[in-house]
Structures are given as structure tokens and as C-alpha cells.
């Protein structure tokens, strides 16, 4: 059965982008593909550097262990006040 997926926000260290890439988006995509077949939901490059995607817990763990990854935060659902 497909492992449960949840959305994670992956924070990348912008300065850690390997030389082979010209665009951060390329690097983010390659990083994601190296652990998961999931599609990217958003890439972020103004307030933070990284992306969001639907990952299994295992994929999230693999992602967190990768070079250049600062944090892999599970998505939070906020409520209106």
C-alpha cells in the first residue's frame, strides 16, 4: 500500500548549491527526485530557500539527511482567529 504522504516544507542552504547547477530550482528539483517521485508543490526563494512537497515519512527522513538541507518541517494547518 502507498505509504502515507504529508506535505513537508524543505529549507535549503542557498549557498550550498553544488557547482553543477545554475538555478536553485534545478537543484531543489534534483534533490527531491533523489528521494521521491513526488511533485513539487511550491519553490520558495524570497523569504526562504527551499520547496514544499508531499513526502512519506521515510522520504522526509532521507531528505533531512541530505547535504544542503537545513530543515524538513511538516506542514501545519493554521486556523483563523
Amino acid at each position: 500500500t502507498e505509504e502515507l504522504r504529508a506535505t513537508y516544507i524543505v529549507h535549503m542552504a542557498k549557498s550550498a548549491m553544488p557547482a553543477g547547477y545554475t538555478e536553485h530550482g534545478e537543484w531543489y528539483g534534483a534533490s527531491l527526485r533523489s528521494v521521491s517521485g513526488a511533485k513539487m508543490i511550491y519553490t520558495y526563494d524570497t523569504l526562504l530557500h527551499g520547496f514544499s512537497a508531499r513526502l512519506t515519512e521515510r522520504e522526509a527522513g532521507d531528505m533531512a539527511a541530505m547535504d544542503g538541507v537545513l530543515a524538513v518541517n511538516p506542514e501545519t494547518r493554521y486556523q483563523l482567529h
Binding site: K14, I41, T76, Y78
Partner: protein, 659 residues
Amino acid sequence: TTRTPEFLGLAGNEGLFPQSGTKGDVVVGVLDTGVWPESKSYDDAGLGEVPSSWKGACTGFNSSSCNRKLIGARFFNRGYEAAMGPMDSSRESRSPRDDDGHGTHTSSTAAGAPVAGANLFGFASGTARGMAPRARVAVYKVCWLGGCFSSDILAGMEAAVADGCGVLSLSLGGGSADYSRDSVAIGAFAAMERDVLVSCSAGNAGPGSATLSNVAPWITTVGAGTLDRDFPAYVVLGNGKNYTGVSLYAGKPLPSTPIPIVYAANASNSTSGNLCMPGTLLPEKVSGKIVVCDRGISARVQKGFVVRDAGGAGMVLANTAANGQELVADAHLLPAAGVGEKEGSAIKSYVASDPKPTATIVVAGTQVDVHPSPLVAAFSSRGPNTVTPEILKPDVIAPGVNILAAWTGKAGPTGLAADTRRVEFNIISGTSMSCPHVSGLAALLRGARPEWSPAAVRSALMSTAYSTYSGHGAPILDAATGAAATPFDYGAGHVDPTRAVEPGLVYDLGARDYVDFLCALKYTPAMIAALARGKSYACAENKTYSVSSLNYPSFSVVYSTANSDAAGSAAATTVTHTRTVTNVGAAGTYKVDTPVSVPGVTVDVKPTELAFSVAGEKKSYTVSFTAAKSQPSGTAAFGRLVWSDGKHTVASPIAVTWT
């Protein structure tokens, strides 16, 4: 909004915020449920061209929806759909259009254009205007029927900052996680680095303590207070007694002669029948009667529908101990009155004791000049700050109870699907309403003082806030208890914008100061890099960092009772905080007002005089707090440090706790 500009002293004082040519160009970005662009609150008459620096757009709206007032509208739903599946386009608009009403209410509160004759069914009538009526509005729809997902919120915050917003307003929260795992805190840090002020609601989980949301020190955290306006209704009992409550009912009144009244708990087969939850009332027991329901669990407005659908003729909705005497008005569809806990108990005991209890409800309309006001709203979340107890939160309170502002054309005033009424303005309550008040005031200040940092704007709002009632000087009361409130309830106090524009001194802060704060929290380089985009930020190995070194406009001292000896008398423990103030006014000499008194704690300020000769000059002082002996864990003591040069008072609340 109507009434709050007067209550805040803004009406007729527009000149206080000198037209430095930029006020109209401050853009307030509102991350919420979107906007109803047809509302008159987005009329752009008299506004100049959209600032050339603006990069926003109107996506998913036809271009006529945006104008020189509503200058941007975007929506972010990829995270929502990834988590919940494709949205039902028959129920939700795949556009910035507000299907709920909340986003229209908050954005028009912050910066809505003046609209004469605004009212809800005749209640709260007047000219509705935003706090910054000449500022621009941009909306970023990140909240959907299923909630607000952090991947969408971050995308919305990114867009808002990239578009050029100067203030971000977020009336949403997700509990207080650690800053490095809280997307709003992460986005807000980077926004602050880009000179954007982020104002957030403190949460509605009050009156319990330690219930705050959005407590990051780089966020302006806003609690809710009441206004000097009420919507009284009288519950007249068959025994001749009558009790005052609140009502926004504007339909056919009940007969003036009392009709039978029944307590819901005695008209239900459910053990929680007193709550008037769906499907719990027995029609044969409530038909044609007034039903007394207790607040709790389900939405207040839903209880009204439950009573109406069961054939009830009217409803009395009684507060519980948690809500105390706070009267929050709702636009019920049937004759209804909300009553305080005391009145509810009296009515219920009459119903229980009289063999044939009867009553009627008389709605009295809008009443202003209500005192004492403001009270801290019972629902307003309270400190202490559980994430970092040494940072006192909330920062301030602002109007958040029974606030009239613009509404969507897609939902009724109760927001329930069964409510087919459509209104241009609605009256709702929450820290969601107080937050945009401060967002709009921040826009006013940014327009008048474009050189101020976000921290300086927040400092000006805090150091000029008031914690006592004008005239008699009694402390602001807490609606939940009827007793004096504390800085854990109102922070620095209730905002006073006409003084904030000339605060005299400000406590300034920049990104590096907040990084030092994170170093004091022992954040790892990766956690700091995730929060603070600048790669140059790092913690120095050989430096000692302290949370209390953050140059915050308030003080929170935490003593650990674990330090005290068996006899409970800790050796006198002295904690010293250093603060640096920047003169933003004319030359002047500031002295510490009346000696600072905090019960059980000796407070020593050095120096007691600060002389400034030019604007921009900075001076530092220290405050030493000495607790002669330990107190029981959970004890809290409060005080206020006030500097004054005879023209300005620069006040800082002090909270001392023993944990």
C-alpha cells in the same frame, strides 16, 4: 469599521499623521480568506496612482476588480489541494474572491475606504473606515474552507513581500511551536529582514493562561479589547425581573407579554442538551418557547439555528465561567440575547423554580459611550509566553469585540450555510479583528515615519499604549473576571495611535539582534539559517548570549524556584537587563517616572536620567531586579517602568514570574 476610529482618537486627527507623501503608498498585505472586491470599502476615490514600485497583480479576478485601493489580489491553494484533494469549485472560488467574509472584514478594518451609512441591520451605523483609509490593500488568499495550510501561507508571504507590501497582517495561528518549525515565524523573520512589519493575532484561547499564538519577538502580537459600544437587549422574566444582555436581532420582535421559557437541558434527551447542539432539542418541548442554551462546543450562531429549527421562538445564550461577563454579539436569525454568566445563572434558577416560567426579549439597539472600556476580551489569549517566557507577550491589545466591517456577498452574517441573508457589513469578534487594527495603525505610522524600522513602529505602539483608564487611573479590567487585568493579558496596554506618532524614544531592533536572541536560545547554525536567510549570521563561539539582552520594549523576568534553598528563601537573586533607546523626537532629558514598584522585587534603574541633544541619538540603561526571597512556583508580579521628559511618556510593562 465604525466607532473604532473615534475610540482610538483617530477621527478628526488625520493631520496627526503628517502627509509625508508616503502614507498613501504603504501597502497592507492581508493573508486571509480573500476579498469581496465589489465592497464599497475598496472604493479608490481620491487615491493617487498606484506606487511605481508596486509589483503586485490581480490574478483570478477580472482586471476591474482591482483599482487604486485594492491594488493586488492573489490566491494560493496548491498546499490545500495537495492535502485535501481538488477543491469543490461550486463551494469555493478558485480565485482571490472571499467565500467566507473573514478576509474582507480584516482587510477593510486595516485600510478600508470611508463608507457612509454603514451598518448591520441598523446596528453600529456610521461611516466605516479603515485605520489607514488612504493606505493601499493587497490580499493574498491562503485560507480555504478546510483551513490555512502553511505551504500556502509561506507562498503568500513570499508574494506579498516580493510585491512590495510594507505591512503584513495575519489573523491566523497554529499554536505556539518552536520558531524554527513555525512557518509564520519563519516567513515573518525574513519579512522583517526586508523591512516589512508583520502583525499577527494573539489567538482566542483565553482567558486561560499560556494560551498565546504568534509569539516570535519579530512579530507584533495583538490581543483583543472591547469598545465603548454595546448592543443591549433585556431579558424580561415573568416575575418582573429583567437582565441585560446583547443582541443584534433585527427581525420581528417577540410579543411584549412574556411567553414560556425552558432550559435546553430539560428539553432534550442528550446529556449535553444544555448546549443546544444540532439534533438535541425535542420540538415538542421547545415549540413556541424561548430556549435557554449554554455556550460551549458548537458555534454560538449554530445554537440559534438549532433552536429555530426545533420550533423555538427565541434564545437566551448564557456565558459559562470561562466567558464571564463578556457580551459578544451575533447576528442570530431568531430573537436572541447573549447574557453574562451571572445573568444566565439567575435566569436558569428562575426557570427551574417557577412552575410556569415565562419571559420575553427586548432588543434595544446600539449604545455608545459605554464605560469602563476597553476591557480585555475574555477570549483574548493570555501570557505567559510558553515558547520564550523571557519575552513578554502579547505586545498590545486593540479593538476586537463586536467590530463592524465589510463582508462578503457569498455568505450570510452568521457564516452558516443556512443563513441566506446577504449584508455589506458584519459585526464579528476575535483577535482576528484586533490584529488588522494594529496592521492599519502600523501602516499609518509607516506612512508618517518612513524612516522607522518595523521594530521602531512596534515600539512606538507599545510604549505609548495605556494600561489604566483615563481620568480615574484605575487599571484596565479583564472581562473574564471583572478584576484588574495584567501585562499577561494586555502586554503594554491598549494602543493609542495619536501618541504613537510622537513616542519620544523607541527600542529599535534589527535582524542581527534577533539572531543573537536565537543564539541565546542555542539554535544550531542550520536552525538559524532556516530562519534567517542571510548566510553571514552565525553565533560567535566566545560570546555569551542572553535572551534578556534583546532590546525589547517590555521586561519579563523569570526566577526559578529550584534555585531557592529548602527554606524557600533564595539568596537575593538579582537579574539585570540592559536596554538602549533611540531618541526620535527633539532634544530632551528623560527621567524615570515614579519609582518602579513590583511586589516582592526591588527594581533599580541606572541611570535614572537620560539626556538627548539630537534625534537619532542612542542611550542605554540597566534595570536590576532583585527578589529578596523566592515565591511559590506560578507566582507573578507586575510593574511598569516609565521614562518621561515632561512631554512624552515611554512606558514598559514588567512581568516577574517564579517558575
